[in-house]
Symmetry: C2
Subunit: 332 residues, 2 copies
C-alpha cells in the first residue's frame, strides 16, 4: 500500500485492500480464457483483459463479499465471471459501434476481425456461466442471467433509439441501466448472495451498484462533451456517432427552431460538417445542459452512498463511498 | 397422426408423438422471446424461430426425457433453452459467414443488420440461461454451459482453419463436434439428467446425440456437393465460401500436383473462375471422396443407433433409430 492513502484514487485503495483476492481473479481469468483447440481465443481475450482496465466490476464483487464477511472461495469465481461478461460485452459492443479504439489501443475487431470478436465474446459468455455453475448457487445464476438479458436488451434499445430525436430521458435511463448499471448492481448483489446475507442487505448492495452504474454512465456520456485529454476520451465521439446522450437530449428539449434543425441535420440525418461539434458545444453551453447533466450524475452518486447505510461499518464501506464521490470528481 | 406411419419421415413421427410437449415449447419460446423495451428482439427472433425449422434439437430433449419416463414440467424449459441456444448460434453464424439466406428466406443480418443479429443472439443466449436456472438443476447448467463453450470454440477453430489446406480430418471432426454435435449431445443428455437417470443411461443419450450430430453435419457438408434442389441447399456454397469440408479434405490428401495447385488457387487464394465448381466436382468424383464421405457418415449414424442399446424399449427409441437412418437417407 502507498504511504499516502489520501492522495490515492479510491479504486486504487480498493485494489490495494483486495490485492490478494484480485490476484486470484487474474489467475482464474488467465486459466479460463485458455482454449486447447483455438489459440485465437486467448489472443483476443488477452488483448482486452490485459489492456490495463480498472477491473472495477470484479472489484465490486470482491468488495461486496468482503464487506459481508464472506470467507469462502467463490467470490473469486464470481468476480472472474463478472469480468468475462463485461469483456464479452465490450467485444460485441465494438463490433456494433464499429469502434477502432478501446482503452487507448486498437480494438479487437480492428486487429483481428468482427467475426473473431463475435465468437470470442460468445466463448467468454459461455465460460462465465461455467464459472457461475461451479459456485453451486442458483441465486447467482438467476441474478447474472437476468443481468445478461438486461444488458443485451439495453443494447438493442440503444440501437433502435439511436439517432431518434424523440428519445426521452426515460428511454435514456433504460439504456443506461442496461449498458452499465445492470452489471454494476449484479456484481454487488452476488457478493452478498454468496455470503448468505439477508434480503435487506442484498437489496442495499444492489441499490448501490445500480445508482453507481447510472451515475458512472452519465459521467461517461458527459465527458464525451466536457472531457479533457487526461480522461482518455476523444471529445465528440458520441456526436460523430450520432448517439443521443443526456446532454443532447436535454438540449433538444429546450431547442428553438434553428437549434432543432441543427440537431435534425447532424444527429438524425448525420450530415455533419467542419465546425458542427463546436456549434453543438455552444448550444449545450447556452442551455447549460452539461451542468444539468452533472447535477443529475451527482444525484445518482449521492443515492449510491445513501444506499450503503444498512451495511455494517467496515473499511471497505468507506472506500465504496469514496468511489461514488470519485465517479463525479472526474468531471471538473 | 397420419394413417400411414411408414410413409412419414422419422422427425415427423417424433413431432407427432411429442406434439403436446412441443406445443408447450413453442408457447414458452414465444413468451420468452418477448421484450418490454425492445420490440426489435421478438421481430428478429420470430423471423428465425418461426421460419419452419424442424425443431430437431428441442425434439431430442423431449424425446430423451420421455424415453426416460420423466413426468415433470422442466423438459419443456430445457427444449426451449436448446432452441434458444441454437437460434442465437444461427444469428451469430450468419453474421460470421455473411450469409444472405437461411431456411430459404433472407437472413436477419440482411433484413435488419449485423448489429441486431449480434445483440439479439446475446439476448437469446441470456434468456436460455434464465430458463435453465428455472429448472433448478446445476447439472443441466453445467452441461449446457460446457456445450455453449464448445460451440463457440468450434466456431473459432473453423474460422482459423478455414481456407487452410493443412486442415486434417481430425481438425474437421473437432469443428463438427463444436458446431453441431455438442448441442445434439447436450440436448439428449439433459433430457436424461432432468429425469434423474443413472450415469450409464445418460452416457448412452450423450453418445447417441454426439454420433447423430457428427453424422448429420457430415451429410450436410456432403449435400453441399452432392445435393439436389429438393434438399434446399445451393450446390457449391462451401466451395465458393472456401470452407474446407470432408469431401475436399479427403481429395486434398489424394491430390496430384495439378489438383493441389487447383485447391491452392480456389480455396487458399480464393481466385475462382467460371467452371471451377465443375472441376472441383470432377476431382471429388475421380477420388470417390463423396462416396468415402457418405460411408463415414453412415458409420457415425450406425454408432448412434448402437449407443441406444442400454435404453429401455419404448416407441420413442424406435423413432430415434429411424431418425439416425434418415439422416444418411437424405443422400442418394
Amino acid at each position: 500500500m502507498s504511504l499516502d492513502h489520501a492522495a490515492q484514487k479510491p479504486h486504487d485503495r480498493l485494489a490495494a485492500a483486495l490485492a490478494v483476492e484480485m490476484d486470484g481473479v487474474n489467475t482464474l481469468i488467465r486459466e479460463r480464457m485458455a482454449s486447447k483447440h483455438a489459440p485465437r481465443i486467448p489472443e483476443v481475450t488477452a488483448h482486452l483483459v490485459e489492456a490495463g482496465g480498472k477491473r472495477l466490476r470484479p472489484m465490486l464483487t470482491l468488495a461486496a463479499a468482503k464487506l459481508c464477511g464472506y470467507d469462502g472461495p467463490f467470490h473469486v469465481h464470481l468476480a472472474a465471471t463478472v469480468e468475462f461478461i463485461h469483456t464479452a460485452t465490450l467485444l460485441h459492443d465494438d463490433v456494433v459501434d464499429e469502434s477502432e479504439q478501446r482503452r487507448g489501443r486498437p480494438t479487437a475487431n480492428l486487429l483481428w476481425d468482427n467475426t473473431s470478436s463475435v465468437l470470442v465474446g460468445d466463448y467468454l459468455f459461455a465460460r462465465s456461466f461455467q464459472l457461475m455453475t461451479e459456485t453451486g448457487s442458483l441465486d447467482v445464476l438467476r441474478i447474472l442471467s437476468n443481468a445478461s438479458a438486461t444488458i443485451a436488451e439495453g443494447e438493442v434499445l440503444q440501437l433502435t433509439a439511436a439517432r431518434d430525436l424523440a428519445t426521452t430521458e426515460e428511454i435514456y435511463l433504460q439504456v443506461v441501466r442496461g449498458k452499465t448499471a445492470a452489471l454494476f448492481s449484479a456484481a454487488m448483489e452476488v457478493g452478498g448472495v454468496i455470503a448468505g446475507r439477508d434480503a435487506a442487505m442484498i437489496r442495499a448492495l444492489y441499490d448501490y451498484g445500480d445508482a453507481l452504474g447510472v451515475g458512472f454512465q452519465i459521467v461517461d456520456d458527459l465527458l464525451d462533451y466536457a472531457g479533457t485529454d487526461a480522461t482518455g476520451k476523444n471529445i465528440g465521439d458520441d456526436f460523430r456517432e450520432r448517439k443521443l446522450t443526456l446532454p443532447v437530449i436535454k438540449a433538444v428539449a429546450l431547442a428553438d427552431d434553428t437549434e432543432r434543425a441543427f440537431w435534425v441535420r447532424t444527429i438524425e440525418k448525420g450530415k455533419q460538417d467542419d465546425g458542427d461539434l463546436e456549434t453543438a458545444l455552444s448550444i449545450l453551453d447556452k442551455h447549460k445542459t452539461l451542468e444539468a447533466t452533472k447535477i443529475e450524475a451527482i444525484s445518482w452518486t449521492e443515492k449510491a452512498k445513501a444506499a450503503l447505510a444498512p451495511l455494517p461499518e467496515h473499511p471497505i464501506k468507506g472506500m465504496l463511498i469514496d468511489l461514488a464521490d470519485y465517479v463525479v470528481a472526474r468531471v471538473r
